[in-house]
Symmetry: C2
Subunit: 331 residues, 2 copies
DNA sequence: CTGTTAGCGCGTTCAA
DNA sequence: TTGAACGCGCTAACAG
């Protein structure tokens, strides 16, 4: 590896002069500067980030934590948005694996892992209310951090999320416009803010539109097709039937599967509206409330960069959008 | 941030003694060792990786390059395998964004980017034959590297891939067993080794089984539903019709769409067999040749660790598996 | 405008 | 068994 010393020797100057050229500082003669630049290029030289960050405390690295990122098609798109913005600004991304240091640390040592790698900031995604206690030391530290879909704030912490409450209202309002009054909701992701918010929005609209609320039409589960499938089977056995189902995309797909297995059809027998707009949903022509996943990643990145620059740390709430597919009908 | 000096002072020993404790070296008294360990724990101390890698040249970081990783559901699963193995071994993953240093570098500076970040090794994925020239400096360097689906070898370079040739043969053999003789193939990913290999396997089987080969049944395109859709529309207009279609999953799904739009059915009118076994395919009950994506990531990681340890660098070819869905029928 | 020196946090000789 | 001194590659004060 070619180092600053190599360049200095070849250019017959001191390494601090080379350093000044690298950082484009003033106080270097035009001819020496040119000479140094020439030799740098000839040798494919670029200053080592690791050594650099040791003395500057700036690594141009953003840490990423998330227990479910890689096997989740939602976060995959968020990641895409992060990459675009951070790449433009000259940052690389350090994905922290689940490696553990010591049994006494388990995986609550976010702060130490960040300090250990000198990251300039960290994006946390895929965590719910249940994990909050784990973030204690991180939140109290000086490390700039942005949470996705978890409303934590602090002097160096903020968050980005979609307008889940408003999105759920949109879903109910759309169904109501089509004439639906009896609406079931299947929730996944228990203990996650997104789920709570959507439930709140659902209830707000039910009340505002004077629609009947029936606790038998409310279901809980995890974020899976299976939850939708099993919940829908229960709905099918109900005496008083809803005419529409509201559920996150993957769950909605499971529900559709159960409906079809029962010899019924969507939207003829039940209208189904999803939430998220994941790729798979498009193959079902699912009517859904879309989030802007890439936008979430971009917004999180810009917010984090602002926090790093000590500019602003106001949370960002992104709007949702109704996408009309073929799974809802007028009744 | 608490450093080795803080610990040394609090324990009233020199920092080199602390260093010896950290690295579990011999030559430290039991009582001093215990005292130091106690103070380390009390202060949530862990040695800084950045500083450490500067002197040891070992960063416990694996670099990841890939132009299409994040928006590709195939590589998402590969990534999952990488994370599992690397996490176990104490490595974190550095995802290189598309940031550029200088117009004269464009994005061919893999070697320098690796050196710049002191990564211990690098996994390259999503590249094809067309990119080979870009890897010249990387391959000639000492940096341990593993390519996924690109057969590059060297003293510190190796690769991992699926048995694409054999997989394609399996597909044709299965169709032949069902009575199909006239088989069309739609290829995506031009310029990529996987595509070439699959085509070779296809032709081998056609020859071995004495099936008719018709150049009008061969189609090229990119890896997209659209390619499948458009190619299938052309097939539908052909005088001499094939009875079965072989194509990568996403392409196969596009073909199915075209078939259905024409008022025909799968597998009644055409049998369709895919390759890859991506998640979306399961929603179509696609018969397909499955690769082990997670296994690819795991194998690449283990191979890279072996190269790092100077153990072995033999390429790894993973077997494929026929998954019988509902898109092929006996004729 | 240029070079010398010290220090970032850690590992590694080599004396003591 | 311990610690002082040096170096990893770079930046930043400070002299000259």
């Amino acid at each position: 590896m070619v180092t600053i010393n190599d360049i200095a020797k070849k250019a017959k100057v001191s390494k601090s002069t080379v350093s000044k050229v690298i950082n484009n500082y003033s106080g270097v003669g035009d001819d020496t500067k040119e000479k140094v630049l020439k030799i740098m290029k000839e040798n494919n030289y670029w200053p080592n980030s690791v050594a650099r960050s040791l003395s500057t405390k700036k690594s141009y690295t953003i840490g990423i934590f998330g227990p479910q990122i890689l096997n989740n098609f939602f976060f995959r798109e968020v990641f895409e948005g992060i990459e675009a913005v951070m790449g433009d600004k000259g940052y690389d991304l350090l994905y922290f694996t689940n490696k553990q240091w010591d049994e006494s640390w388990v995986d609550y040592s976010y702060k130490e892992k960040c300090e250990n790698r000198n990251v300039d900031g960290v994006i946390m995604m895929g965590y719910g209310k249940v994990n909050i206690a784990q973030f204690d030391r991180l939140l109290k530290s000086e490390i700039p951090s942005v949470f996705i879909d978890l409303d934590l704030v602090g002097s160096n912490t903020s968050y980005v999320t979609s307008d889940n409450t408003g999105g759920a209202r949109k879903a109910v309002e759309y169904l109501a416009k089509l004439g639906h009054k009896k609406i079931a909701m299947i929730r996944g992701l228990n203990g996650f803010k997104v789920s709570t918010d959507r439930f709140v929005g659902f209830q707000q609209s039910i009340k505002a539109l004077n629609l009947p609320y029936n606790s038998k039409w409310m279901f809980d589960g995890d974020y899976s097709m299976e939850t939708g499938y099993q919940s829908m089977k229960k709905i099918l056995r109900l005496e008083e039937q809803p005419t529409a189902i509201f559920a996150e995309d993957l769950i909605a797909i499971g529900a559709i599967k159960a409906i079809r297995e029962a010899g019924l059809n969507v939207p003829e027998d039940y209208s189904v509206i999803g939430f998220d707009s994941i790729e798979v949903g498009r193959h079902y022509h699912l009517t859904t409330i879309a989030q802007d996943q890439i936008g979430l990643g971009e917004a999180a990145s810009k917010l984090l960069l602002n926090i790093i620059d000590q500019k602003s740390f106001s949370p960002i709430i992104l709007p949702t959008r109704l996408i009309i597919g073929e799974t809802c009908r007028e009744i």
